[in-house]
Amino acid sequence: MGSISRVTAIATNTVREAVRNRLLYALLFFSVAMMCAGIFLAALSYVEGERVLQNVGLAATRIFSVAIAIFVGVNLIHKEVDRRTVYTILSKPLTRAEFLVGKFAGLVLTIWLQLAIMVVVFVAVSLLSGAPLDTGHAAAFVLIGAELVLVVAVATFFSAFTSPMLASFATAGVWLTGHLTRDLRDIGASSQSEVVQSVTAWLHRLLPDLESFNLTIEAVHGLPISAADVWLALAYAAGYATLVLFAAIAVFYRRDFR
């Protein structure tokens, strides 16, 4: 019970701090602006204007949410160390694991809050444009939320031991590669070289397979989405994020606060 209370205290404060970050509002503004710009792009399209609109909307949601997760996420631990607030916090009966999990949970909550705002804008824009909305869209947003958990975990991992600059490059790199691992694996599988096959297969296993969270095509084109795929992706996100957090905690435990 005490542990939950301490983690909640850190998480609540992390949300309070993160929502004060102006960068979050700037990115949120651009995301909303891009969704609204989708209306004009849709008007320019000869056919399937609603699909263009929703494609742009989902892409804007994903890209700007990830940008927020990276840029706000990599700074959270660094700021605590840089401003030395970590000294008083870790001198309390609070483990480093509780601190890190609290920071992670707070950031996830913040990212989900901004995701909720983007969903509201997406729904409003879709309704105004007469674009269809169904459970496929809901599933697509749920999996974007799951992907963000994973990105936040990776950002937390890198920020546990390196500078914000390096952490943001590394997290962005993992995110980009994570969306390409399936293609890499397929290209590798068709290669003649066993080394290439083995390396690409391992990369696919090791790096997060973020395309599992991409239901944009299915949602926009009204294609069937199986509940099993959604649940599997959610379980994958939970498992992968937990492993990354364990790694972050292990690194954070060894860190000296000089």
Binding site: R6, I10, R84, T85, Y87, S91, T95, F257
Partner: protein, 312 residues
């Protein structure tokens, strides 16, 4: 726990930091050992860069010792649970400046495991204790340095700890701020707390500490009761004089073994306290001016300066 056993026990603690990107390591603490007894104010004294803050960070579990052992209340400092009984004020503390004084204390109370039922009462009690009730709802960004130091002391005490660690608690404060913090520290002792204080300001040590350890270049040079330091050597006084004829200056050096330093027509004189009356009579007799007479230097300063010289 045995009463005679130190409440804070440091034994052979070594700390190496990696120097740069290579494998080269720099030793910052060279196997230091000392103990702090229950109910005392312990001054951990040393020049800047001597290893005071590193030692404190080892005790707070913020950095890990390369070798040796440190315990507080019998528990290894790498553990977490014992921190329920320990409070810590870092040097130049920074707190979330968008929170108010009351909010920050509630936050720390929650982290420290103070029950919800007790939390609000404890926060109000502490705000009163450090004299910040009037500023409880002001954001910390509007606080002065002295007020931040007091809120820092309050957060260190929010869970009513047995041992309180203060890193340079008077640094950067004006004379009134220093006096206020000094009074708070003395109140802690009167309430039965053990206080460990890092500082390089010797007058503060002399005013509040019961025992002292001097650290220079990562090594403990002296450890003992403050009285034992004050009793050592012969006390010295400083005079500042003006318009002293050269022949009198020579006499001061030869007859009274005084150390002289000239600045324009002013002369700084350091001499044994027992010679002060004679020197004053001598210089006044030749029409020289006495600008100031500083009370006898406590020998803690002499011991400290000697330790620093030997350490270097």
């Amino acid at each position: 726990m045995d009463v005679s056993e130190p409440i804070v026990h440091v034994e052979g603690v070594v700390k190496d930091f990696r120097a740069g990107f290579g494998l080269r390591r720099k030793r910052v603490l060279h196997g230091i050992s000392f103990g702090v007894r229950e109910g005392e104010i312990f001054g951990f004294v040393g020049p800047n860069g001597a290893g005071k803050t590193t030692t404190l960070k080892v005790l707070m579990g913020l950095i890990r010792a390369t070798a040796g052992r440190a315990t507080i209340l019998g528990c290894d400092v790498r553990e977490t649970a014992f921190r329920r009984y320990v409070g810590f004020l870092p040097e130049n503390p920074y707190f979330y400046d968008y929170l108010t004084g009351r909010e920050i204390l509630r936050f720390y109370a929650r982290l420290s495991g103070v029950s919800k039922a007790r939390r609000d009462d404890r926060v109000e009690e502490l705000l009163g204790w450090v004299g910040l009730t009037h500023a409880a709802d002001a954001r910390l960004r509007t606080y002065s340095k002295g007020m931040l130091q007091r809120i820092g002391i309050a957060q260190a005490l929010v869970h009513d700890p047995q041992v309180v660690f203060l890193d340079e608690p008077m640094s950067g404060l004006d004379p009134i701020g220093r006096m206020e913090v000094r009074e708070l520290i003395l109140r802690l002792r009167s309430e039965g707390k053990t206080v460990f204080m890092n500082t390089h300001i010797l007058t503060d040590v002399e005013m509040v500490c019961d025992r002292v350890a001097i650290i220079v270049n990562g090594r403990i040079c002296h450890e003992g009761a403050i009285n034992s330091f004050l009793g050592e050597g012969e006390p010295e006084a400083d005079l500042v004089l003006a318009a002293v004829p050269p022949e009198v200056s020579t006499r001061l050096e030869q007859e009274f073994a005084a150390t002289l330093r000239g600045h324009g027509d002013r002369l700084e004189v350091r001499l044994r306290e027992k010679h002060v009356q004679d020197v004053l009579s001598a210089v006044l007799a030749v029409g020289a001016q006495v600008i100031s007479v500083t009370p006898p230097q406590m020998s803690l300063e002499s011991v400290f300066l000697q330790a620093v010289e030997e350490g270097e």
